[in-house]
Symmetry: D2
Subunit: 308 residues, 4 copies
């Protein structure tokens, strides 16, 4: 299905449930998709960072897209990450994801290799020329170690190379420059991936959000989105603050024992398991599993948010 231009609302980056043997748990994934659709989300983003795309093999990635597009069956658009180091490898992922039915692809700047802005622009131009579906730029400096500056985004938007931006940089000033700079292109989509400042981004004019925590509480994020659209900023802030308190679950992992990804994705998946949505909270290797005590902490966050 064509992706709306612009795409608005809540677009959760869908977690990828795994079995204890670290295979994609398709029945759990389907339950999670239903949970999100029931929550009222406007589109789905599979194979993002929260989806552990960096950890999934090509076969697993394809299975995720196929499962999502088949199950969702056009109810909402399905965007798919095409996360890899450089243009030729990303093109392979775009082919795989679109063959599997993805309605759009989401792509970061090149990484691992040293990168120049001219090379980043060339990357997106080459991808757009080959991709059968719209390409969204994905700004994730924490992962790729370069920043997509507003100038570059506006240039690529002006050429029609990219259909939108998913900003997960935490740099709202730069994102604001993109938002105001693309007002004259109403088809260009601006999505924030910063789940703690969605009210602020929507107040600036962003079209929607890609909150990892929406896996756990999609209805909350949809509520937040609708309050922002209605200009009810006081209640929006209250809802956002409730979600910020819930988001603190990402810190349950002990920092001397694991990194931020193990802790955050471990907490999300533990929460989904505790809520009965997925069968197993395992994260992909080499992430370190949460301990029982850490999982118990996740439960307390859920309980405090009335989600258990």
């Amino acid at each position: 299905m064509p992706v709306p231009t612009p795409l608005t609302g809540v677009v959760p980056p869908v977690c990828t449930p795994l079995t204890p043997a670290r295979e994609v748990d398709v029945p759990s994934l389907i339950r999670l998709l239903d949970h999100l659709l029931t929550g009222g989300v406007d589109a789905l983003f599979v194979l993002g960072t929260t989806s552990e795309a960096a950890y999934l093999t090509d076969a697993q990635r394809r299975l995720v897209v196929e499962t999502a597009t088949a199950h969702v069956a056009g109810a909402v658009p399905v965007l798919a990450g095409a996360i890899d180091m450089t243009t030729p490898r990303v093109l392979d992922h775009i082919r795989s994801a679109t063959t599997a039915g993805a309605d759009a692809v989401v792509v970061t700047a090149p990484f691992y290799t040293s990168t120049h802005p001219a090379e980043i622009a060339r990357h997106y131009r080459l991808l757009a020329a080959e991709s059968p579906v719209p390409v969204y730029a994905y700004d994730l400096p924490a992962g790729v170690h370069t920043k997509l500056g507003a100038d570059l985004i506006l240039e690529l938007a002006g050429e029609g190379v990219i259909a939108g931006l998913k900003d997960s940089s935490g740099d709202l000033a730069n994102f604001r420059n993109v938002i105001t700079g693309t007002r004259s292109r109403p088809e260009f989509t601006t999505l924030t991936g910063s789940e703690l400042t969605i009210d602020a981004a929507l107040a600036m004019g962003a079209h929607g959000s890609v909150p990892g925590l929406a896996n756990i509480d999609p209805a909350g994020y949809v509520r937040l989105d609708r309050l922002c659209r209605a200009g009810d900023w006081d209640r929006a802030r209250a809802e956002q603050e409730r979600l910020c308190a819930l988001f603190a679950m990402v810190t349950v992992g002990t920092p001397t024992r694991m990194g931020g990804s193990s802790s955050a994705l471990g907490a999300f998946k533990a929460a989904l398991q505790l809520r009965g949505i997925i069968a197993c909270g395992a994260t992909a290797e080499p992430q370190v599993p949460l301990s029982d005590a850490e999982i118990e902490q996740v439960g307390k966050y859920l309980a405090a948010a009335g989600l258990l």
Copy 2:
């Protein structure tokens, strides 16, 4: 063939010649392999950073390994990079490379995702448990944005998890701690990827080198290696300094127009083309091609070194 323990000498990271359409140019690759073998190198490292592994598709990667192992036919060991973000994806590359005949694999720390030392250790342990061939650790902070500290390497070496280290960090102090810390494990291999300080690394006790510039002048690097082994440090230094002057070709690319990878790999491939070894100097997308004037500069470096 089994890789010697330790592996010693010159192990060039083999450039991957491409056609103008950016397909692997197999005849050129074979000529390059012959050029390196004729130069006297002790082993080959395909699919490293200099090989543009980050840019090659899975099919291209496999073709490179198959071509190399078939052509070399056991004359020297063939190591293959298995460069990807996390354990499950690296395992797929290990399977592909070893099926294609690689004698060992070379693997970085996880990247893109945030990483903790405990997760890096877990990564190598899981890989070693599954790999049919020895696993070498590859320290490349410029690409993966974490550093493999000597403590971690010594721990993994002590467990027999890794067979050696390729150090491309430029941090000779840490590398020295690995070299001296593994003296009691004579089977553990220490290779430097810093082509400007090979004499220093060998003087400290490193077993060998992985110099990208050896694609252009393998005989020079073999000479340097043999002088070091003979303890002829004065002549070694003179040879190293000659190679340092040649290495300056990596700066021919204009920094306002391209990044370091485009410039360095562009120069290496231009040099190989100018020397008549490969048919086309193209680098993979989205790297920016050298201009004619920049390629002319490469030629001057070759001429100054007596290689044209």
Copy 3:
């Protein structure tokens, strides 16, 4: 005079006008102070980053504080930066600034030396124990290369060690955690130094702003502040966007010729000179001066904003 608890409103980081010989231009500074007071600002922050504190000698720093406190004479509070590498050196600056009449001091984490969170906490505790005036923490990762996490700030706020936070990190998510985490301490002040997202920070509950651009247009920032306080978010956003457009003047400097500080501070001072407020637009050494053409660009920004 005692600083209000919390301190609210607009607290511009006062530029330091220099003569062509790079001495503090006291008459220009006094005119600038009057310009700011006339604009309605709520307090003044001298010796901040925008004030070029990093470039001023100790004698110049003292002259600036003395001039400001004498001229302002209690009309509004005067906060002074005490910017130096470590505790003992910062204490000297605190002594100097408070002897010269500063009502509060603003201090970053230690820099130049490698720093641990425990050492940052110790730093602030030692300063607070010695300082005769309140100490505000200054989060400036771009300058000091460490981040003041919300946990650390909340701990120090809870102990009464710091009176407030000036957040110039651009990380609104962390700042929000400080804002909501100190709601139960109504005397704790939260100020944003990010001039492009002040509406967002105030909507989250921040008490005020420290916008460098308020040197040029104090009335605009006061208007923005009052609109936010009145909950008139639509007009606040419009005013903020007008100021964002004006702020783009910081990019006039050619990046191949100078760094970001030369460009931004050069533009601010050129604007103040063009507006007739200061006599000379010189920035401190070793910053590179703007060219005539670049200064002309600054004039166009002013004209577009109706400030010329």
Copy 4:
């Protein structure tokens, strides 16, 4: 006294002994100076990073230089760090240090403020124009967060702006380019601050070393220097490796409790106290003191090296 051109040999960065109240302990400093001179060092470097210059007040810095120049009385040259953020502030330190008798000054790139290569060059040119003594560039990316590239150093050396380079970057490849690039300027001094790779740097042609650990074992570093000069590389390596083992004392501090500076400088000062050279091992605030158990570990390193 004029500094030799080039300056060769061992130039220890002199620790600054402090009393328990964190005042400069002049008698201990004098004993340390004697210990170093007795060890045969070729010059002294006060107010460097190892000297805790970043922590010393201006009065303390001046006292250190005065004490050193008065006590040494021309026996060897005394270089002094002039460590501060920008040109005007560094100039004040240069005035103070040279008035107190320093024979040369050592200066980093600007820090805290964002810096462009053109501004770094301007910084050194302005300093050289004003300084009554030679200016040495100090490459310390870990502290100042910019790198002094070989191109910049060669340009400044060619202009006679800087008299030498102290390289504490750990980047031997870049340092080698400086060494070989200044062979035609025999008066230009190249010193390595990397105490674990001094043999390598001297083999490349560096003139000398600035090893922090030489505070503890000056005779060892002098021996290493003399062996290198004699071309006795095997014995040089053995001596260097002995010193590397001793250097590991810098890791005694528990990383969850303190940063690298607290641990390394704490270990150096504990060792000096254990050896009876200084009266108190205190480091400056806000560094965290070593525990008794950690100090005991330092003692074991000394014992293993035959220095207790």
